[in-house]
C-alpha cells in the first residue's frame, strides 16, 4: 500500500541536497528489489502448489508420504449364519466419500476360497437397487454407461476364485453408499472340528514373468504392471497401507456369527481374535471382543461339538425350482497305525512377502516337520525366492547328522526376493526321478510351506498336475492372510491335504494334525453309488480325492430324492475293499444347496481349462449355470444400476483406488520413498524477505518521524 506514495515522494524530493538524495535513491532501490524478490518467489510457490493439485489425488498421501485419510473410507460388516455345513454371509461394504468431489471407489477384496457370491444390493440412502448377474462384458458396458450418465452404479467382478473387485460409481461428496454381497461357503470340517475363515485382506502377490512391452509405464489400478505370466497383474495388486495409516475411520470390519450347527457346540475358539460367544440352546452367537476389528488378518473361527457327539454323517436336502438337491457328508472314521518309510521333501517359501512373522511361522513349521521324521525316512529341504536352493543334492537319510545340519539351515533362513515357485516345484517334484527303484519302498511326499502370494496360480496347478508322478503334495498356508485358494487347489492337484497357520502358537496343533494325516490316506479309489432315481442325477465332485484321517467325504447331488441310500466304497491302505451306505431318508432340510451344486459344477468345468484357453462350449455352460443360480464366475459379474442420474455430467468424477491393509505381522517389500527435503530453503527465503521488508520499514519510519 505504501509503496506508490513512497515512490511518488521520491520523485518530488529530487531537487534536494546530494547526500540525502543518495540515501533516498538507496531506499527506493531496496524497495524495488524487495518487490522483485517477491515477484520472483511467488511463481515458485505457484509451481509447487499446482504440481500437487494437478493429479487430483492430494488426499491420498499426506505430507510425509504416508497414505492416509484417502477420500473414500471403507468399512465392512460380516453377518454370518452357519446352518449345518453351509455358512451364509451378508457382507456389507460401505464407501464413504469424505472429499468435495464426486468419487468412484474401486476396492479389491478377498473372499473365502470356496465362496459362491449369489446376491448383490446397492443401497443409496433409503433406496435399494438389487443387482443381477450379467456376462462380464455386458456388466462392464452397463456400468460404464451408467457411470458416464452420472447414475449410481455398482459392479462386482471375480478376478480369482477368492479375489474380487467392487466398482462403485458416482458417490456424492460427503455421502455413503453401501454394497451388500451375499455369499455362501461350506464350513470346513475335519478331525471333529469345524472351521470358518473370513479373509479381510490379501498378501501382496508376486507377479512372475517379464513386464508386457505395450503396458503403459505409469501407475494403473495397482502397484504391479501386467506381465507375461500374469496379464491382469494390475487388477489384483491393490496398494497396501499400514493399519495405522488409515486411522480408525476406515478399514474396520464388524463380524457377527450365528452358528446353528444342528448339534450341541462345546467350544468356540479363534487363533486370530479374542471372541465373545453367547449360547442360546444349540445356537451360538460369536463376535470379536474388540468390536470392529482392523481388516488386516483373516478372522478364523473354530468350533467343536460336545465330546462324543461329533457327527460321522450328515445329509441335507433342498428342493429348488422343481429339482432335488442333496448334500451328503460322511466321515469314514478310519485310522491307521502302520508306518511306511517316507521320503519327505520340504519346500519353504523365503520370498519377500514372507518377511516378518510369516518366516518365523514357516521356520517353526519346518522344524516341527523335521521332528516327525523317523530313522528309516529320507528327507530334503528346498528353499525358494527368486532362486531355488536345495540343502542336499538329493533326499538323504534322516540320521542325527543330517537332521542337525537341516536344523542349522532352517534357523538361518530369512525372507527376501521374489516368489519364483515354478522352478522350486520342478526341483521338488522332479527330485530323484532317475533312481525311482532305490526309493521305491518310500512313500514320497512334498510339504509346501508358503503364503501363496503369487499371481499365476493356474499355471502352477497345471505344473503340479503334470509333474506330480507318484507323489503327494501337502500345503501349509502361512501368515495373516494366506492365499487359501492356492493351498486348497495345489493340495487337490497334488492328491494331498492342506492346512493354514494363523499364529505361531497355532503351529503345533495344526501341523501335528497334518503330519499325522500325512502318514497315508485312509481311503483311496473312492466310488459313489447313487440310489436309483427317476431322472438323470449329477453328483460333484465327480472324482472324490483320497481321504486322509479325520477328513470327511462331501458330495453334492442334483436329481436325487431323499430316499434310498448312498453307497460309498473305497480301498483301505492295506488293499482291502471297504464300503458303507448312507441312509438318505433322514435328510435335514438345508438352504442354498443348489448354489453349492452350481459352484461345484462350474469348478469342475473350469478345471479343464487350467492349461489356458477356455473352450466356447464350457464357457457357454458356465455362463448358463451362473445365470440360472445367480453366481459370480470368471465370465459373469453382478451389476446394479440406479434409474435416475444424480451427478451433472459436467461435474468431474475422480476414481479412488481403495487400498487394502498390509497383513498383520508382515513387513512390506514395498518401500515408500522417504521425505528428503528440509524447510531450510523456505525458511531462509522467508527470513530474508521479511528482513528486507523490516529494513524498508525502518527507513520509512525514520523519514516519517523526521
Amino acid at each position: 500500500m505504501m509503496l506508490p506514495t513512497t515512490l511518488l515522494r521520491l520523485e518530488l524530493d529530487k531537487p534536494r541536497l546530494a547526500p540525502r538524495r543518495v540515501k533516498r535513491c538507496c531506499e527506493g532501490v531496496s524497495l524495488w528489489l524487495a518487490m522483485l524478490l517477491l515477484l520472483f518467489v511467488h511463481p515458485l510457490y505457484a509451481e509447487a502448489a499446482s504440481a500437487a493439485e494437478g493429479t487430483g489425488m492430494l488426499e491420498f498421501v499426506d505430507a510425509d508420504g504416508r497414505h492416509q485419510g484417502q477420500a473414500t473410507l471403507l468399512n465392512t460388516e460380516y453377518q454370518v449364519r452357519v446352518s449345518g455345513l453351509i455358512a451364509d454371509t451378508r457382507l456389507t461394504q460401505s464407501f464413504r466419500n469424505t472429499s468435495q468431489q464426486w468419487r468412484e471407489g474401486v476396492f479389491v477384496f478377498p473372499l473365502p476360497e470356496k465362496a459362491s457370491v449369489y446376491g448383490m444390493t446397492m443401497r443409496v440412502g433409503e433406496r435399494e437397487i438389487v443387482g443381477d448377474v450379467r456376462e462380464k462384458q455386458e456388466a462392464k458396458r452397463r456400468y460404464e454407461a451408467a457411470k458416464k450418465a452420472g447414475k449410481n452404479a455398482a459392479r462386482v467382478d471375480q478376478q480369482r476364485p477368492n479375489l474380487f473387485t467392487t466398482h462403485l460409481a458416482n458417490i456424492p461428496p460427503g455421502e455413503t453408499i453401501t454394497v451388500e454381497l451375499n455369499y455362501q461357503q461350506t464350513v470346513r470340517y475335519q478331525s471333529g472340528e469345524f472351521e470358518l475363515r473370513l479373509p479381510t485382506t490379501l498378501t501382496p502377490r508376486y507377479m512372475p514373468g517379464e513386464p508386457l512391452a505395450q503396458s503403459p509405464q505409469q501407475w494403473q489400478g495397482g502397484w504391479a504392471r501386467p506381465t507375461t505370466a500374469v496379464p491382469d497383474a494390475d487388477a489384483i495388486s491393490p496398494f497396501t497401507v499400514q493399519a495405522e495409516d488409515v486411522g480408525d475411520q476406515s478399514h474396520r470390519a464388524v463380524v457377527n456369527l450365528e452358528i446353528d450347527a444342528g448339534l450341541p457346540v462345546a467350544d468356540v475358539a479363534s487363533p486370530s481374535h479374542a471372541l465373545r460367544s453367547t449360547w442360546d440352546g444349540h445356537r451360538v452367537r460369536v463376535a470379536p471382543e474388540q468390536g470392529a476389528v482392523p481388516m488386516d488378518q483373516d478372522v478364523v473361527v473354530r468350533w467343536s461339538p460336545v465330546r462324543g457327539q461329533a457327527p460321522s454323517a450328515a445329509v441335507f436336502h433342498e428342493r429348488w425350482q422343481g429339482e432335488d438337491y442333496l448334500l451328503a457328508l460322511l466321515v469314514p472314521g478310519l485310522s491307521r497305525n502302520q508306518n511306511l518309510p517316507r521320503e519327505l521333501v520340504f519346500v519353504i517359501d523365503t520370498s519377500g512377502s514372507m518377511a516378518g512373522q510369516s518366516i518365523g511361522q514357516a521356520r517353526a513349521s519346518l522344524l516341527r516337520g523335521l521332528a516327525t521324521l523317523s530313522p528309516g525316512d529320507r528327507f530334503n529341504i528346498i528353499q525358494f525366492n527368486s532362486q531355488t536352493h536345495a540343502l542336499f543334492m538329493q533326499a538323504v537319510p534322516a540320521n542325527g547328522q543330517n537332521l542337525a545340519r537341516a536344523r542349522r539351515y532352517v534357523e538361518g533362513l530369512s525372507a527376501n526376493g521374489g516368489t519364483e515357485m515354478a522352478p522350486a516345484l520342478r526341483v521338488a517334484l522332479g527330485e530323484n526321478s532317475p533312481e525311482e527303484e532305490t526309493t521305491g519302498q518310500h512313500v514320497r511326499q512334498v510339504v509346501f510351506i508358503t503364503d501363496g502370494a503369487v499371481g499365476n496360480e493356474a499355471a502352477l496347478f497345471e505344473q503340479i498336475r503334470q509333474q506330480l508322478g507318484g507323489r503327494r503334495l501337502f500345503t501349509v498356508g502361512i501368515g495373516s492372510a494366506p492365499n487359501l485358494h492356492f493351498m486348497r487347489e495345489a493340495a487337490r492337484y497334488g492328491r494331498g491335504s492342506y492346512t493354514a497357520i494363523s499364529d505361531i502358537a497355532d503351529v503345533a496343533g495344526q501341523l501335528d494334525d497334518l503330519f499325522a494325516k500325512m502318514q497315508a490316506p485312509v481311503l483311496t479309489d473312492i466310488a459313489i453309488e447313487l440310489p436309483p432315481a427317476a431322472g438323470p442325477a449329477e453328483a460333484y465332485p465327480i472324482r472324490p480325492g483320497d481321504l486322509f484321517a479325520g477328513e470327511p467325504l462331501v458330495q453334492v447331488m442334483r436329481g436325487v430324492k431323499s430316499s434310498g441310500s448312498l453307497g460309498i466304497s473305497g480301498r483301505l491302505s492295506d488293499g482291502s475293499r471297504w464300503q458303507t451306505s448312507l441312509d438318505l431318508s433322514r435328510a435335514a432340510s438345508g438352504t442354498g444347496l443348489h448354489r453349492h451344486w452350481g459352484r461345484e459344477k462350474i469348478d469342475s468345468l473350469m478345471d479343464q481349462t487350467l492349461s489356458g484357453h477356455v473352450g466356447d462350449e464350457s464357457r457357454q455352460q458356465v455362463v448358463e449355470l451362473a445365470l440360472a443360480h445367480q453366481l459370480i464366475t470368471r465370465f459373469t459379474s453382478f451389476v446394479a444400476v440406479d434409474s435416475t442420474p444424480v451427478r451433472e455430467t459436467s461435474e468431474p468424477l475422480t476414481t479412488d483406488q481403495v487400498p487394502t491393509l498390509l497383513p498383520a505381522g508382515s513387513s512390506s517389500t514395498m518401500l515408500r520413498y522417504p521425505q528428503t527435503a528440509t524447510l531450510s530453503p523456505l525458511l531462509t527465503a522467508l527470513g530474508l524477505l521479511g528482513l528486507i521488508f523490516s529494513a524498508a520499514g525502518w527507513m520509512l519510519q525514520r523519514r516519517v518521524s523526521r
Binding site: A49, A51, T55, M57, W219, Q675, T676, P681, L682, G687
Partner: protein, 203 residues
C-alpha cells in the same frame, strides 16, 4: 510503530537463523560423525555419535568426481537425515540392494551433478570400498510409486532425494532416484586406488 518493527525484525531474523541452522547442523554433524565412524571402524561395533543419538554411522559414501564424501547413518527418519544421509534398506557389507536417502538441500544437493556413468564408492565398517557406477537417473512420483525391494537386483545402490532441487516446497511428492550398479574391481586396481589411501590416512 517502532516496537512493531522491532518485533518483525527479530521474528524474521529468527526465521532466517533457523533456516540457516539446518544446513549448518548438517555440516557440523558430519564432522562429529567422522569421529564416530573412525571409532566404529576401529572397534567394529555400532558407535553412536553422541550418547542420546538414535542412529549410528553405517557406511561412508563418496562421490569421487565431485570430491565429496559423507558418513551414512542408519535409518531415514527425520532425526538421522538431519545429520547425514540415511540408509533406508540393506547392508553395505552384506548381500542385497542398498537404498540411501538424503536431504536435497544439505547432503544430497550435489546429486544433481551426477550423470549416467559417474562413479560412486561405498565404504563399509570393515574398511572395504565398493565401487558403483551410475546407470540411470530418474524422477518418480512417490505417491504412485514405491520401491519394490523384492525386484531390486542384489548389486544395486539407490540414492534417493527430493526433486526439484530448487523447490521451496519441502513436502513435494517428486523424488530424484539415482540407480547405480556394483562394479567388481580387480585387487591390483583397488590397491592403487588413491582415494582409499587418502581416506585411511584421513581417519
Amino acid at each position: 510503530m517502532n516496537r512493531l518493527l522491532l518485533l518483525l525484525t527479530v521474528m524474521f531474523g529468527t526465521v532466517l537463523t533457523v533456516g540457516l541452522w539446518i544446513p549448518f547442523k548438517a555440516l557440523v554433524a558430519q564432522e562429529l560423525l567422522e569421529l564416530a565412524w573412525a571409532e566404529s571402524q576401529a572397534r567394529q561395533i555400532e558407535t553412536r555419535p553422541w550418547p542420546w543419538a538414535d542412529t549410528w554411522p553405517v557406511a561412508r559414501l563418496s562421490l569421487p568426481e565431485l570430491g565429496q564424501s559423507m558418513i551414512v547413518l542408519d535409518g531415514a527418519h527425520g532425526e538421522s537425515l538431519a545429520f547425514g544421509p540415511g540408509q533406508v534398506l540393506g547392508n553395505a557389507a552384506g548381500p542385497g540392494p542398498v537404498v540411501i536417502a538424503g536431504h536435497r538441500d544439505t547432503h544430497f544437493t550435489s546429486l544433481r551433478h551426477l550423470e549416467a556413468g559417474s562413479e560412486l564408492k561405498l565404504q563399509t565398517r570393515s574398511g572395504k570400498w565398493y565401487r558403483y557406477r551410475v546407470n540411470s537417473i530418474r524422477v518418480v512420483d512417490s505417491r504412485y510409486e514405491q520401491i519394490d525391494t523384492a525386484r531390486l537386483d542384489d548389486h544395486t545402490l539407490l540414492l534417493v532425494t527430493c526433486y526439484p532441487f530448487d523447490s521451496l516446497d519441502s513436502r513435494g511428492p517428486l523424488r530424484y532416484v539415482v540407480q547405480a550398479t556394483f562394479e567388481p574391481v580387480s585387487v591390483a586396481a583397488a590397491g592403487s586406488d588413491p582415494l582409499q589411501i587418502d581416506t585411511v590416512a584421513g581417519l
